[in-house]
Symmetry: C2
DNA sequence: CGGCGAATTGACCCGCATCAACTATCGTGG
DNA sequence: CCACGATAGTTGATGCGGGTCAATTCGCCG
């Protein structure tokens, strides 16, 4: 019962800030009460960070990972000439840098795009949990592999899609990922990004993102305005973007 | 002694086809004799595949992973309109789809770009080894996270670098990765790809790759001809490409 | 020698960057 | 309450990197 309630994000018992993480993991595989308790126990109470704060500097040695509880995070790489590229966006329920558990430092920075709340997990505690509950370990491993799958989808967008399709595809991805953690309904979702942030995801300039947003709006597919994405024609949008959620692995599979 | 020899890829004892994999993993962390034996034992004798053969179809259910022993593999995604994007190149010693261990199917295909030899590993056997040797499990987890780091480097190239720099960066990456497994010397390495393959990595057309190769040659940085990359000016090339091997995590770190 | 895929080169075009102006929004202090 | 300054968004004019199309040439194999 506690398990079922947690699935809907309604539990305010132990470490409720892990609810969205559990929602996300449970769409992949069952997690029993012992595993749930162990996982919740390693996540520290969330700390708040203001928008635009660098949470983790590129290369910094790390002994903990960040679970995003609220807000939006980005994995960013800065170039010599001042350009920036975002390699992934993180929504609540995501570990933004679970890969630092094995990498011990990051090849990119972690930047708060909005005000955020983050629950930290020490690698030491995580190592114990993973050895004690190998199935949970495999699920967390899965979770980093899912990040890689998202990277590959972005690679395809950047390499082979034009600006309009690329943006449409990203908005589809976010719809699905936010739905999983209960932050989107069928009509859309709040998204407190600037057009410049989107440009840094899409390898474009903010000027062009602006034009492309107008294009998508005028096509009657999707609107992004005032920090909210409104999907006018879900089927049309997916088709236009050649979007299929397959790469997000939303399916129950034994570990 | 066997361990030290294996480090140089000279052992022809048990499963010598795992030598390059061990070379690669050992640049990250020590592997003791028991772990080495366990790892070697799960890798089946290599099978041969001709160039251009699809090794794994996108979406196909998987219960084993492919260790590349010889040749070149690519992770490919095909688009509706016939375009193709490669999201990663694999060199000998790489698991091409270790992530299928947790994903159970792939979001992309695996294509042999040249004639290849592949040693298969069943997920069942792998699961046993990983539970028995958690440190080895962490090292393999690291290895999939390294793939993700390579994806991110490509994302940056595709999003923010021009064609010439992008190609230069890729050639630098391959130099380093091939050096690790003893397939490149300081002057360069064999690379049996077509210009069209490179185009599919870089989000370009083969026509433009051709022009860009000429540009790099005329700048005196690097030459790609007859299936061989010759690096004329290593320092100049790295500088030109804004290349740093940091994202390849070539450093000993405790697991 | 003939055939075929890969490489090479030129001419032309288009998507997106760049540069530049202007407007909208919002928080802040006088 | 308004003036302001800062940041984000919007739109137009112009230029360039890389795509497209097409014609050779090269290199290898039968």
């Amino acid at each position: 019962m506690m398990t079922a309630a947690a699935e809907q994000g309604l539990v305010f018992g132990a470490a409720p800030w892990a609810d969205r993480l559990l929602m996300k993991l449970r769409q992949r595989d069952d997690i029993d009460a012992a595993e749930e308790a162990a996982l919740r126990s390693v996540i520290e109470p969330p700390q708040s960070y203001p928008a635009r704060r660098v949470i983790i500097e590129e290369g910094e040695p790390l002994d903990r990972s960040a679970l995003l509880v609220e807000g939006l995070l980005a994995r960013v790489k800065d170039m010599r000439d001042g350009q920036q590229q975002i390699s992934e966006l993180h929504v609540p329920g995501d570990f933004a840098d679970l890969h630092s558990f094995t990498l011990k430092r990051l090849d990119h920075g972690i930047l708060a795009l909005t005000a955020c709340r983050i629950g930290w997990v020490s690698h030491e505690a995580l190592a114990l949990v993973v050895e004690r509950f190998p199935h949970l370990g495999r699920l967390l491993w899965f979770s980093t592999n899912l990040d890689a799958a998202i990277h590959r989808a972005w690679t395809v967008s950047l390499g082979r899609r034009d600006a309009t399709t690329r943006l449409a595809h990203l908005l589809c991805e976010l719809q699905v990922r936010l739905e999983i953690v209960g932050l989107a309904d069928m009509t859309g979702y709040p998204l407190a990004l600037t057009q410049s942030d989107l440009a840094n995801c899409l390898g474009l300039t903010s000027v062009h993102v602006n034009r492309v947003l107008r294009d998508l709006r005028e096509r009657g597919l999707v609107t992004f305005r005032g920090g909210h994405v409104t999907i006018a024609d879900p089927v049309g949008l997916c088709d236009f973007a050649e979007f299929s959620p397959d790469y997000l692995f939303i399916e129950k599979r034994p570990r």
